[in-house]
Amino acid sequence: MSFDASAKQAQLQSLVDTVLNHARKKGASAAEVAANSSHGIAATVRLGEVETIENTADNGLGITVYYGQCKGSASTSDLSEGAIDEALTAACDIAKYAAEDPCAGLPDENRLAKEWPDLDLYHPWQIPVEETISIATACETAARSYDERITNSDGATVNQDEGVGVYGNSLGFIGGYPSSRQTISCSVLASENDDMQRDYWYSTARDASELESVESIGRRAAERTISRLGARKLSTRSAPILFKPEVAAGLLRNFIGAISGGSLYRKSSFLLDSLGQQVFPEWINIHEDPLKPGGLASAPFDSEGVATSARDIVADGIIQGYVLSSYSARRLGMETTGNAGGVRNLTITPNTETFEEMVAALDTGLIVTEMMGQGLNMVTGDYSRGAAGFWVENGEILYPVEEITIAGNMKQMLMDLLAVGNDADYPGSIQTGSWLIREMMIAGE
């Protein structure tokens, strides 16, 4: 791969600068431009043979212009002069038709990042494609050789990706930095009698040296798949539910959605006016750390140039702050929290030691390892999703279950949280252990 990050960054910065100038010449009173360029390769090996080699090369430029309080946006994947000019012209034209919005505009100047640390986000892998293939092969082999019931495969994929992003606005802010992301994933099938199941595991990091070993990824993919064989349905009942980290992270994401500016100012959240209110039990703390070195979602400034900083979103079960951009903050009569583009690196403090302890605390109930469908009504908090996992009686895992649903109301589910484990092991920028929830309705046979 040939990707010169510093040259690319200089090139994109000069491009952003040029487009900002052109916007000014077209009469825009303010403008902001984001440009990015990335490059990668993904190799998939299935049943020991190369299946696909995908070379990715993506570019993008997004422009927002303001004429007073009127806003227009455009984007292009083609960075040629002609395409950028077409996009800018369209954005300016759209702004002329848009109505005045008193909240529209760039962030307050004093909130823009002035200087920022190197967050250690760029570790290009740049290994030859042959090596990528052999890593994928080793990973899939580890999964396929784990158990003779592993009979088929969706393959193992090794993905290396690196890129540069630059953001600038007409307040004089311009900043950018390179980043990288490496991922190894594996998905296999198991069969026994008439039952066929599939599951996966993966690892992702900025730096390839931090990835889980290929043997471990393959083995866990196989273990997870095998453990699903022989799944049964359950009869309809209510029971306590233990959400494993891979699904608990989704619940945390749902919570963040409900306290995000867009849901709040549209009054389409089940957590309206929840600032300062207790929404979790009092032992819960949720922390955001956008400046975590090497973090998967780390960023020194948000997607509108506002400086990011570490904070508690929830302390002692009480909401300390919403998740806001400049626009949503103005709509709510508040200040931005530096979350344009979302939350960055969340952790929740555990109150329990091991997963085994949590299973003991569950006593008789359901461990959920997978959920299906959307199933959350953000306006009411009503929650109903397909689920698969394991049935537990007297602290003992008895058998896998599938084709059931779990339902409740998210607001109640958050208050009903009995324990959070320290078993956070699922890759991603939201790190949480398992969640034990007092009771939900299970629908089955």
Binding site: R46, E49, V50, E51, T52, I53, E54, N55, A57, D58, N59, K71, G72, S73, A74, S75, S77, D78, L79, A83, A87, A90, A91, D93, I94, Y97, A98, D101, N152, D154, L189, M196, Q197, R198, R228, A231, K233, T236, R266, K267, S268, M372, G373, Q374, G375, N377, V379, S384, R385, G386, A388, E402, E403, I404, T405, A407, M441, A443, G444, E445
Partner: protein, 477 residues
């Protein structure tokens, strides 16, 4: 009349001086390696979107996406590279990268020839047929109409999207084809409030046509429909939990078919043996009342295409006929590896994605029962008429789809509305439990988006009213 190919190549290739000679050279470069097949997919698209919120059109956006993807197949292997730069040197470099999937050799280039194809939609640019003033007026009219439905309607968001997509495909099997694909969509979302309770309703429609589609009352109908749903939901009680008879309304509830059987019948999963339907052609997988087809040839439908993204003409493929599994949906790669013909289901999100077998418009043919008779046959069950999304695990066959408007059926009558709930079942046997099929086949209004391996494509679904004797309903009561 100018053909879609001529229009597409004029928009896409002429400005960058790519002609048939250059295409032949690129295919020649690809053929210098031992490939079974290779293709070049040129694409240019423009999309314009407007959103009205809080009574004002506060933003609009315009997106440009263009480039070319070059794919090379050798056996089961695919090499793929793409570029957003359409100059010959960049294309050549992408061709050399993707052909590296196979060793060099010397094979023969097949000259490409232009294919004739139907015109299921006009090669128009829907961004331009009505002015920006008129788009904004339309949004405002729809918004006001929604608010006028009832004083309890508090929040209204209306969005309007028009996309213009031009593609040209050239392949080593001699294919040379082009298509100009308009696509429009309008969505209305409302929130109604009553005594502190808030509930939402939404409606959308669209197709491969121009925005005039929404002018003669269709936009207003969406405002009425979204408002109606929100008001119904204000009265909804907790949904039941457990297994029970479920009657699905006609049209959009056809998302059942998309999830329960559609994905499981895509050729790639079946070639690899990873689908719960693998190796089951000729077997009974549904009740004899069920005939399910995938049909890319319906005029102006959201999931329709004059040709798929490999240049193959779309068609109607019978998936299940009177309960018997008849066939899978194929793209060229999976058809070749499975020893059959492409069914015109090779689709991709864009030039930057690899094609794979995807659905177009998937629906069940009408039966003979009156919808009223079907409802009357249920003692105690659920009647579900509107849905959000769904999902399927094609290997275990388990699928879900989430009802957003549903009612209890008690003693053969539709009674109380219930809150949204997820329905879960097993794809290979859910249709065996279909005991009544209505005579009221309807297709959805044109809002479906299907995701697979991270790629989104527009699709359609449809079905008549039908009764499933037992399905698990994921409520709380």
């Amino acid at each position: 009349m100018t053909t879609s190919y001529e229009l597409a190549s004029r928009q896409l290739l002429a400005p960058v001086s790519i002609g048939e000679q250059e295409i032949d050279r690129l295919l020649g470069e690809l053929c210098a390696h031992q490939l079974d097949y290779a293709d070049i997919y040129f694409q240019a698209s423009r999309l314009e979107a407007w959103t009205l919120e809080d009574g004002i059109v506060k933003e609009g956006s315009y997106n440009i996406e263009q480039g070319a993807g070059i794919r090379a197949n050798s056996g089961e292997k695919s090499g793929f590279a793409y570029t957003d730069d359409l100059d010959f040197a960049s294309l050549l470099s992408a061709a050399k990268t993707s052909r590296a999937i196979a060793a060099s050799g010397n094979s023969v280039t097949v000259p490409v020839s232009l294919r004739n194809q139907p015109a299921l939609y006009q090669p128009v640019n829907p961004l331009d047929t009505i002015s920006r003033e008129n788009k904004i007026e339309l949004l405002q009219e729809v918004e006001q109409h929604a608010r006028a439905q009832d004083p309890r309607i508090q929040q209204v968001i209306v969005s309007l999207v028009a996309a213009h997509d031009s593609v040209v495909v050239a392949a080593t099997d001699g294919t040379l084809a082009g298509d100009v694909r308009p696509l429009v969509r309008m969505n209305v979302q409302v929130i109604a409030e009553q005594k502190g309770r808030r509930e939402q309703g939404s409606a959308g429609a669209g197709g491969r046509t121009t925005l005039e589609f929404f002018l003669n009352g269709r936009g207003l109908e969406l405002a009425e429909e979204a408002s109606r749903q929100a008001l119904v939901n204000l009265e909804a009680v907790d949904a039941p939990a457990g297994m029970m008879p479920v009657v699905l309304g006609s049209g959009w509830p056809g998302v059942l078919l998309h999830e329960a059987v559609g994905h499981g019948l895509e050729g790639d999963f079946n070639r690899k043996g990873t689908s719960a339907f693998s190796g089951r052609i000729g077997e009974q997988v549904a009740s004899p009342l069920c005939t399910v087809v995938d049909d890319g040839t319906l005029e102006q439908r959201r999931g329709s295409l004059n040709m798929d993204d490999e240049g193959t003409q779309t068609r109607q493929t019978v998936l299940i006929e009177k309960g018997i599994l008849k066939g899978y949906m194929q793209d060229k790669l999976n058809a070749r590896l499975s020893g059959c013909q492409s069914t015109g289901n090779g689709r991709r999100e864009s030039y930057a994605h690899l094609p794979m077998p995807r659905m177009t418009n998937t629906y069940m043919l009408a039966g003979e029962q009156e919808p009223d008779e079907i409802i009357a046959s249920v003692d105690k069950g659920l009647y579900a008429v509107n849905f959000g999304g769904g999902q399927v695990d094609i290997t275990s066959g388990k699928f879900v789809f989430s009802a957003s408007e549903a009612y209890l059926i008690e003693n053969g009558k539709i009674t109380t509305p219930v809150k949204g709930a997820t329905l879960i079942g097993n794809g290979p046997d859910v249709l065996t439990k279909v005991s009544m099929v209505g005579n009221d086949l309807a297709l959805d209004a044109g809002v479906g988006v299907c995701g697979k391996d991270g790629q989104s494509v527009p699709v359609g679904v449809g079905q008549p009213t039908l009764k499933i004797d037992e399905l698990t309903v994921g409520g709380t009561a």
